[in-house]
Amino acid sequence: MTQKDLQIFVNGTVNYFKQLTDSGAQMDVPFLKKPGETVALDITGVIGISGVKKGIIYFTASSDMLRDVVKTILGTENPDLASIVDIAGEIANTIAGNAREAFGADFMISIPLVVEGPPKNIRIPNEVPVFVIPIRWKDHRSFLVVGIQ
């Protein structure tokens, strides 16, 4: 994955949160995930990538952040757990799907898989560098993790 490819996902993340709230989100400097290092918060939405690129993309966040996102979208004070879980998959799906604008229609994305807790079963090919994009939105931190060829 090139620097230009990484920028596509940074831009997609910025765009998602800009649509959500006027203030948008801040991206910290992306870093390479170390082998064996787990980058996971409370809830993780995972998208498998196939076609012209292969690998995975996942968005991981605290349940507090996801609750705030749901509250912002729906205007409800007490979102249910199903909605909080669902939005993790939807954010991952939206950022991955938007990347097709740059990569083209052969950048195939799976339906989201949502995992609560550390995603132990996510397999990223060893030869693929895995980039972590830290995201700050309001007082919350989350990560977009991109491991594609």
């Binding site: 765009n15 998602y16 649509q19 959500l20 749901v70 979208i73 729906l74 205007g75 199903a82 909605s83 669902d86 939005i87 998959g89 939807e90 799906n93 939206t94 950022i95 991955a96 799907g97 938007n98 097709r100 604008e101 990569f103 083209g104 229609a105 950048f107 994305i109 799976s110 339906i111």
Partner: protein, 121 residues
Amino acid sequence: MKLLIVDDSNIIRKAIQKYLAEFGLEIVGEAGDGRTALTLFRETSPDVVTMDITMPEMDGLETLSEMRKISDSPKIIIVTALKDKATALDALQKGASGFLAKPFTEAQLKEEIGRAIGRAS
């Protein structure tokens, strides 16, 4: 006018309901996959459908094609994260009445549906 909402995300279905609450559309059904959407399409004869693409069971483009075999009349608006031009063109060729990329705002949704049904948003 009757509205059918099709998306595998319950948040998106709820958001569409909320954004269109005052838009004069009666929600006659919701589906989280293409097969359920087809059943509801036959049962409820909607005038407007919002249709996601990436869904389990049957994706939105195939569901769109199947719906068009049943009827040309309803306005079917694709609402998807797949933002590339080829997908938009494919959807229009399969009979979509409009195309809206996620993430979307309330104003963008109303504008796209308003355009499809010939009403100012």
